[in-house]
């Protein structure tokens, strides 16, 4: 190592050639973009195709005024890239930004403003919002302040886990939401370190992948407002509004105030990996925090507005994201930035996968029209560094593009299956005429993904965006008044049913039905082929009081209440055993579609659908049974028979014969109270009769 360092130090071109106010510098290297620590200095490199000139602005940490500004001499620009090495900087105490000089001509797409300091799109650390919700000084001329990161971290042999996609069980969580509540009783609530303290909980629940809501640097104060009536502060809690794509959210780190968020997040990932849990990031490349023409000059618009954003012919921002602007993802420069960013997170942070928010935007061209072969999506699918990581699309956007089942996949991309969510919700609440679709959804949606396989389907019933599972069975309509938008925000079409009473109640019949409905939803989710995803807290009946759009609620409405772990011990037990059931039965987790025939000489097809009577599914009704043949798994597995009764009354179901020499045992019965709702292994009651009574709105699962 010392020899290598010596060789670098002896380079003949690492000496200063220029000096301004005692700061020495020289021409830099165009690549890589961003700020890179080099021998004796820092290499700064930034792109702009339309600027007339560029000035590097250097600050001491948290100081309002810069200590030096250095305009890039003409000979420091190569093509459209400005680069410079500045020597003898105190890296830990440095913040940097740029001023660009160029035309202010919005109609032509240019919005240069030399009075503004903008941050580096490649900044690895961003200061300015170091501590969550600490009120910023809005008068400061430079708000989101680029810093350097040490990229050395002792991973001790850690690497991405590469769990086969078919075996994943995803848990969707919010860094603050998971542990901010005082009921979490941990030392660093609402932070990366706090989540680390709760890893044992996740492990005992049985998930093997955590999908984290956006953790790229964003501004929680964006669109801040007090609630018009209650005065309660409303902030950007979810974080779907990226300031910098390469920087972790400082306010999510207990050590953010000390600028150690990079180490804290890496340590969290290392510890999750040690517990066998993958980390998937929810990433937002469809827009940025700069909003439309009324928004702030943070970065991109002041560097090269026409390159970074999709603009209308008269220079306004197209708004396919519903958030004011649209990132110009299929511009070659922006495409490379996205690629560089994901490569960075995979190689530097050992991230296992990504879920792309409003991913359909990534398939639009520079005029906003959908592309049949989008270069960005193709690049990501075939990228060498991303070669083993999971790519999941939210396959729609706010501009009306809906691509569930038709997202350009290149054999790599999976999709949030919105049709799965809608169908299962309607089925559970008792809609008729659902069974044909339900059969498809349970099989991994072959109607949508026949050419891609069931692992293209990320199955979910609830996610951060919408009702929690508890609220889905407790509210017929949304209650978003606390968001301060007159209950006009959030979806109206929730396919929810309150089980006979709107909201919380102490009616034991209603509550018992809700308990059952939650178990029914979960059972269907974890019996289905595809990738199941569970929403944070659903396993303990988390409620948002009927709010289905908690984007601005950084409080108990959104937070996990850890007292529920004790109060809802029965439900939590059900979930952890249900997840264990899925892990124990590989026949549920196939990565190929069922063929509806006997492929292995077992005498039974791989899957067969029944009604209350064997071989007679009633496709127009509310009951469906199916038998999955375990001999079709390699190595062989148990047979699994599920009888789903979404009719309001109990019904007898004929039971198919158990495999030779075996007897059916009850694995799950959602009509029973805990602990008789779910059994370990072969500990459930034996079923010798040829008929079982399945309670109203209940599911029984038998194994043999």
């Amino acid at each position: 190592m010392s020899t290598a360092r010596l060789a670098l130090e002896e380079r003949i071109d690492f000496y200063p050639t220029h000096e301004v106010s005692g700061v020495r510098f020289r021409r830099g290297r165009a690549l890589p973009f961003g700020a890179t620590i080099v021998p004796h200095g820092v290499n700064f490199s930034i792109f702009s195709s339309a600027a007339d000139s560029c000035t590097l602005v250097l600050f001491r940490k948290r100081e309002r005024e810069p200590f030096v500004e250095i305009e890039f001499p003409r000979e420091f620009r190569i093509g459209d890239v400005y680069s410079m090495i500045v020597f003898d900087l105190e890296v830990e105490n440095l913040e940097y930004g740029y001023r660009f000089s160029g035309p202010w001509d919005p109609r032509a797409g240019h919005r240069f403003d030399k009075t503004k300091v903008v941050c580096d799109p490649y900044a690895k650390v961003l200061g300015g919002r170091d501590v969550w919700c600490k009120r910023p000084d809005r008068s400061a001329p430079y708000q989101h302040r680029a810093r350097l990161a040490f990229d050395d971290f002792d991973w001790e042999g850690d690497t991405a886990l590469e769990i086969p996609t078919k075996d994943l069980i995803i848990y969707e969580a919010h860094i603050r939401g998971f542990t901010s509540s005082p009921t979490s009783k941990i030392s660093a609530p609402g932070t990366f370190a706090g989540l680390r303290e709760k890893i044992p909980y996740l492990k005992s629940l049985g998930i093997n992948c955590i999908e984290l809501l956006p953790l790229f640097e964003f501004d929680e104060w964006e669109n801040y407002r007090p609630h018009p009536e209650t005065g309660q502060p409303l902030i950007n809690y979810w974080g779907y509004s990226t300031v910098g794509f390469f920087a972790p959210k400082a306010g999510y780190a207990a050590t953010g105030g000390l600028g150690m968020q990079v180490d804290e997040l890496k340590n969290l990932i290392k510890e999750l990996h040690r517990s066998g849990i993958e980390v998937m990031l929810d990433v937002v490349f469809n827009h940025t925090a700069e909003g439309d023409e009324r928004g702030p000059h943070i970065c991109y618009r002041g560097i090269d507005n026409r390159t970074y954003y999709i603009l209308t012919p008269d220079g306004y921002y197209y708004n396919f994201s519903g958030c004011g602007n649209t990132l110009n993802c299929n511009h070659p420069v922006v495409r490379n930035m996205v690629l560089d960013c994901l490569r960075y997170w995979v190689s530097e942070y050992h991230i296992d996968g990504f879920r792309f928010d409003l991913a359909s935007i990534l398939g639009r061209d520079q005029n906003g029209a959908p592309l049949s072969n989008p270069p960005l999506l193709e690049s990501l699918a075939y990228d060498p560094v991303l070669g083993k990581c999971k790519l999941v699309a939210e396959a729609w956007d706010a501009g009306g593009l809906y691509q569930v089942g038709s997202f350009p996949a290149y054999g790599r991309w999976a999709e949030w299956n919105g049709k799965y969510r809608d169908a299962i919700r309607r089925f559970i609440k008792g809609d008729e005429g659902m069974l044909g679709e339900i059969a498809d959804r349970i099989q991994g949606s072959p109607d949508l993904y026949w050419y891609r396989g069931p692992t293209a389907s990320l199955n979910f019933i609830t996610c951060h965006d919408g009702f929690t599972l508890h609220d889905l069975v407790s509210y017929n309509r949304k209650y978003n008044e606390a968001n301060g938008e007159g209950n006009n925000d959030g979806a109206n079409d929730n396919n929810s049913w309150n089980c006979g009473w709107e909201g919380e109640t102490d009616d034991p019949c209603v509550n018992a039905l809700r308990e059952r409905q939650i178990r029914n939803a979960a059972t269907i989710l974890f019996l289905s082929r595809g990738i199941p995803m569970l929403l944070m807290g659903d396993e303990v009946g988390r409620t948002q009081g009927g709010n289905n759009n908690c984007y601005c609620q950084d409080n108990a409405v959104s937070w996990m209440n850890w007292d529920d772990v004790r109060k809802e011990a029965g439900l939590l037990r059900f979930f952890s055993k249900l997840l264990a059931f899925r892990h124990a039965h590989r026949v549920l987790r196939g990565d190929k579609f069922f063929e509806h025939r006997d492929c292995v000489g077992s005498g039974k097809p791989d899957i067969a659908f029944h009604g209350t009577r064997i071989g007679e599914p009633d496709w127009g009704g509310r009951c469906l049974a199916f038998l999955i043949c375990g001999k079709h798994a390699i190595p062989q597995d148990d047979d699994i028979y599920a009888a789903i009764n979404m009719f309001w009354d109990g019904l007898p179901f004929q039971v198919p014969p158990a495999p030779e020499g075996k007897s059916w045992r009850v694995a799950i019965n959602t009509s029973m109270p805990s602990p008789e709702d779910i059994y370990d292994g072969e500990s459930g009651p034996r079923v010798d009769s040829s008929e079982i009574i399945v309670g109203g709105r209940s599911i029984m699962v038998l194994v043999a």
Partner: protein
């Protein structure tokens, strides 16, 4: 940043005082160099260190690695509660043996 070193029974003790950060860490490293090569068992007394930055933590880890490579051992003495918490959150704590007293530190090295 002040640095004092002493040796006793084959154990080297280095006492630091002040802030260990990007500015002081390279100086400390340079000054510790010869002392480090002469001792394979070392106590780093941090009881008078009021601030440890990212660069400071990295220096500690480098010392740990250097000593481990020579089958040596490093014990940190008198780490304040605040610094300990930061070390825990960032994962650096896992690498080190911490001691509350000189005697405990001696024990940790034996």
């Amino acid at each position: 940043m002040k640095l004092e070193t002493s040796e006793n029974n084959g154990i080297g003790t280095a006492r630091l005082e002040g802030s260990l950060d990007g500015k002081t860490a390279p100086e400390v490293r340079e000054q510790l160099g010869p002392f480090l090569s002469a001792n394979s068992k070392m106590i780093l007394d941090l009881s008078k260190v009021d601030y440890l930055s990212s660069a400071g933590l990295r220096l500690l880890l480098l010392l740990y690695r250097e000593l481990s490579a020579r089958k040596g051992k490093l014990v940190l003495l008198g780490v304040s509660e605040d610094i300990r918490t930061v070390m825990s959150h960032t994962g650096f704590l896992n690498f080190f043996t911490l001691a509350g007293s000189e005697a405990e530190a001696q024990q940790g090295l034996s």
